[in-house]
Symmetry: C5
Subunit: 354 residues, 5 copies
């Protein structure tokens, strides 16, 4: 299950802007990849230590610095110094329980987004944080995991496919967010399939496990909503062009992502409605089973109680019970019993209890 | 059932503006119909390949290009080149999971709407996408299916009925949206009849199928809402006249459609409320049946248990049981039993259990 | 029951502005009444055919044209010609499934409202449409039925009671809407009484009919809400004085109606809440009855099962059962049985099952 | 119970501004008290007939006219004439089903508020209307009842305690509203105690009366909400200072009342949530009792049915039943029965049914 | 449990601005700590009586006055005189049932916030009020309790750690609010753990106590929401910089707190959703247990009723019952009974009732 509240209390009382990693503990080293490109050229570097980094000497390059892993304070601090980033921004990149948001620091924009992946086996949704800093000629991305989500963009930058090399840094930022949102669709499809499977299961099995699965998925939907919904506002204000870091030309692309985010939200809402509907069906099928059980009990009791009573009557030891001495008394009583049973069965058949 | 999530993941990682058809696979060729008209004349052409298309030589004509089928990349691309449409717009015409929306590209408006049809036999609502591009003197419509929904408009343009030939391109766009929204009323009526049928069924049968039908229709209502609700905003901003492509004169017509969309939404909401009410009635009738079953069981048990007990007492083998030797012991006991039974029946009648 | 969706589909594909009556079919002729008045004089005419109508020759008169019945195309068309009304407006007067709305056509305002009446016998709410056109010196009212709702206004105009004859056309329009809204209070009172009756019934009878009545009234509330709520916006924009057809002086009167509409809406919402509460009580009383039935069954079974068992034991045919030969065996066992029964009854009394 | 809809229908068809009292019929005479004060002096008069009233001759006095009882048309009319009040305002003072509201008539403000009192014995909330007219140098208050709610203000004015005599009429109006809102807190505390009592009762008794009490209080909460919520808007616009009748200095006092109203609303909402929670607990405890009843039944049946069966077997009259002739047959069977019973009891103990 | 309504009624009828402590009665003396600092120096004083306080003689100092305990009228009054605070503000510091709010008094800001602490043993959330007055060069804090929540800030001011001594009074105010909000995270974590414990308990035990715990926590969530939600608006308007008391530089810090408040609110909402889900699971498990109980009853009854009937038949005393004299009659009947029992068991196994 997605952790409900990340251990943020370790930060209580610390100075504002203190850098402490909040999230899963990690041992692996931070991996930094750097692209410097313009329309003609593209240089790719990769290192483990920010000390090796050197700013490009010539102007006219766009720098994309990709940091995989946000648990090492030194690396983050060093980047902050080189690019003159605000301490609160650096703090936010390390606290991986941020909501998606857009902050305008004047010289650069700070965008926080979430990646979503769904593991079908344990039905768990994994949410990781990606922070993007967009400056006039650079983009810095901080990934919580060491995901390969940006590989398609890396390839486009390396090979110069599409127009990415011809455009400014804002288009690179757009491409990165676009890839994140495209991945939402993949996760949605998988969740959708899981829900449909669950729906089929619901027809046959009616144990408590189905109920727990539904409740579990419903809760995951809440987390999804929290991780995606604020991104809508982020994209809306990027589209409206409230900052001069996004060029006129790129607005239409931001609007496109905005549309996609809304489509994803529609799916999340639909899933929630479907799960609620499934819950109703589950609960009503529990009632129906109870009904069925009660009917069986009632039918059996209603047939055998009168019969047992009749048998009881002729088991009495009165001296003067003339029927007991009749030659055909026994068969007659058996016939009477059969008659009562048949009548009862017919009665229930008429009432459509079978 | 309406597919929950369309297979959008095939697009993940592709360049923005890549043209790939998302939706049901189709084999049929794309059919293109073209009207060029002004108040005096109207020329109609029809072809399968956009290469055959030639722009009208004289000014003063309004062009309506109708594309049935959006699954052929070449045709869409060619139209994009001829009319200088933005790649993201072309992408959206092919991705048939768009929400209804209005996008202002400056030189032209892009409107996405949905057609709705209801098939009574399989209780399925079919939703298809229609994209409309409105330029200063042209309208391009992309239909997902090869529907005949626009036939009434085609006839009006051909025959010059009404004022359509006297008006500008924005009036043509209005007429097209008007036809789409008029069709919503037809679908609503059919769904309404289906719901009323279901309501009548609910009185007689109370199986799980009724429940599933209700839940199924409730879910369809969610899809309907998603397909119609955003159109309200589209019409509102067309009415407000935020773009100069819609003339002052046409605003009042747009307002009319706006009203109609709200009326349709009212129906959808009413249907949802009705279905919720039906669910309540269903669930309560399940409880009532359980109650009835329990009453039958209780009545039977309450009558026969004391009787069986009495019979049991006189079936005991004690040596000294004076009643057993009474001459009228047996008939007296039978009378006692009858008395108990009658008392019980009266008791239940007084309690109104019958 | 109020029809859910009126037969609007007959209009599909027709030219915008086509006049077709949507609503209940009617045979009766349209009745037109015309008042021409100023402070000194008041002329009243009445005719069946608009051809007889002549505009007043002198200026300085206010004309009130009242059309009862909107199912005759010719009459509506003729009025449209005389007063230069927009075709879409005329269309809306005939389509009686409009929502209440205010449309500003520049030279005149178009107001759609609904009258509400409640018939206690069949618990049905009847909603009829009234359209009001307010010009600088004329008011035209279109009534769906041939109601007498405006009789009080007619009398005031005829007799010159109050200040209606001294005021302009906007005050006449105000008076008409005021009468409509005043009638809402009457309907609300009757519905309120119906609900209170139903609430009393709920205490005694608990059949499915009560449930259906509650659900039925709940649905009617939805229709009421739809018919009244939009009027609030209409009155709000009349009060704000967004149009010059309403004089400064009349704003305070419009605000008064606005307040009344909100009061009516408050009642509708209260009724909905009350009906929901009644539904809860109904459902819980069904559960309670089940509980009661189960208790009776349990008490009977718990008392007689041990007794029957004891009787069964002494009905066994073992040779060596010393108790059977005891002189006081039988009375002792009877006493034992009585003891068990008394203990059980006490046990249930302690548990407060009685 | 609070009447759901007051008899407003008597007004239907009357001229706007007609004065008719709506509310409980009353016989008592109207009581009018008048204060004329400035910083130095304070004159108090009291009369039953407005004819005795004379406006103060000197300028520089603030007049507070307090009318207890709004059912006498003449008194209200006379006040209207003296202070030049709008007929619709007078109408509203007599119609005691107004919502709280603020109306700006230019020369004076009209404020409608509600007093709330809770009677613990019959659990009824009594809501009465208070209308306040605030002019440049006068305040007129109309009370529905002859309440003593304003006694504290009267005393302050008489004795010159606090700053009330040094301030203008707007501060007097503030003091009056402040007293009304302070009384809300008293009512809230009493309702809160009632709810806590009810909550304790719910643990012990589980009859239908508890349910009806909860539902009754829930409905009262709806009426409270309706009576208080609109006051928030009233205070907000008084605080914003949209009118020049409220001096800059008094804004901060109005903001204080605004805060108090929101606190009261918070309490009302909390009460509603608590009542909903209590409803849930009630319903679940009904289910739990059913469960308990069923368990008792099942335990009894499961223990005695096998025993009765065994007894039945040895009550059969077969000639060749060897056990019947065994010396220790009877005690052995009794032991077997005891064994079965013990096993069953253990089984249920393991299943934690006890 | 958190008190629902604090005893505010004691204030009814008092003059506005009257100082009376509302909240828990306290006996302890008020503790006042005073810091006067600038970048170079920091003087700390501590006294019990405000009379000992002297304003710093030199300019250029920032004064932080911390009052622990708000139940002594004299101390509060004296502070009001020294710093020229509005009487209503002083009243609010003593009424500890305020909602979080921001009030701009021109010369100083008044901020009310709440501290939250969760005690795991009695599952109670403790909410205390903290009022902050921010002037141009002073900050006054009023704590309801004598909490040590501000110790970390005190230490920073004393030791000059961080930039707090270099910044103006607004940064001090920020630091204080930051500490309050940081403590929310700690409380949230503890509540989160409590909820997860409760969730685990729900799997094993299903008594009414679990239900009461859930309901109790749900109610606490309502109080939490009320205590935190308004703080969001406070921070939003501090961030927007509507007052000149907050410097440009500090806005970004306020935005940071704003984000944190929203994160905390997200947690509260998630907790509510989780508790609702747990309620559903609880209720459904009650139903399931009922089902299980009914199944046991039905199985036992369905097996033993036919057997008892058979035994009853051969317990009848008819003279002519040939089976009774068969040599193998008894074993044959026993076999028949075993057959019936096996058949029944198989039937239930097939129906998956085991």
């Amino acid at each position: 299950m997605t952790g409900i509240v990340k251990k943020r209390s370790v930060k209580t009382g610390l100075l504002p802007g203190s850098l402490i990693h909040i999230g899963e503990k990690k041992e692996s080293t931070v991996k930094i990849r750097c692209f410097e490109y313009n329309e003609e050229r593209c240089v790719e570097k990769s290192f483990d230590d920010m000390k090796e980094y050197e700013a490009p000497k010539d102007k006219g390059y766009i720098t994309w610095l990709n940091v995989s892993g946000v648990h090492q304070v030194e690396a983050i601090e060093r980047i902050g110094e080189i690019f003159h980033l605000h301490p609160l921004l650096l703090e936010d990149t390390m606290n991986t329980d941020q909501r998606p948001k857009l902050e305008d620091y004047g010289d650069y924009l700070f965008i926080v987004a979430k990646t979503i992946s769904f593991h079908r086996i344990d039905e768990a949704i994994k949410i990781e944080q990606i922070s993007i800093v967009l400056g006039p000629d650079y983009v810095i991305t901080f990934e919580e995991g060491d995901g390969d989500i940006f590989d398609v963009v890396r390839e486009r930058v390396s090979t110069g496919k599409g127009r990415i090399r011809k455009m400014a840094a804002d288009y690179l930022a757009y491409s990165l967010i676009d890839v994140i949102v495209d991945n939402y669709f993949t996760a949605m499809e998988e969740i959708g399939e899981k829900i449909e499977t669950l729906e089929d299961e619901l027809v046959t099995t009616t144990g408590q496990t189905a109920l727990r699965s539904i409740q579990h998925l419903k809760r995951e939907m809440i987390f999804l909503r929290r991780s995606i919904w604020p991104l809508r506002e982020v994209m809306a204000s990027l589209e409206r062009g409230e900052t001069c870091l996004i060029s006129e030309q790129t607005h239409v692309y931001m609007r496109d992502i905005y549309d996609h985010v809304i489509q994803v939200m529609d799916s999340v809402d639909t899933f929630r409605d479907m799960l609620s509907g499934m819950l109703d069906i589950y609960l009503s099928s529990v009632s129906n089973r109870l009904n069925e059980v009660m009917k069986v009990l009632t039918i059996i009791a209603t047939i055998f109680m009168p019969l047992t009573f009749i048998a009881g009557v002729y088991g009495m030891n009165f001296k003067f019970m003339p029927e007991l001495n009749f030659r055909w008394g026994y068969p007659a009583i058996l016939l009477l019993m059969a008659g009562v049973a048949v009548y009862m069965v017919e009665y229930f058949r008429k009432k459509k209890w079978f």
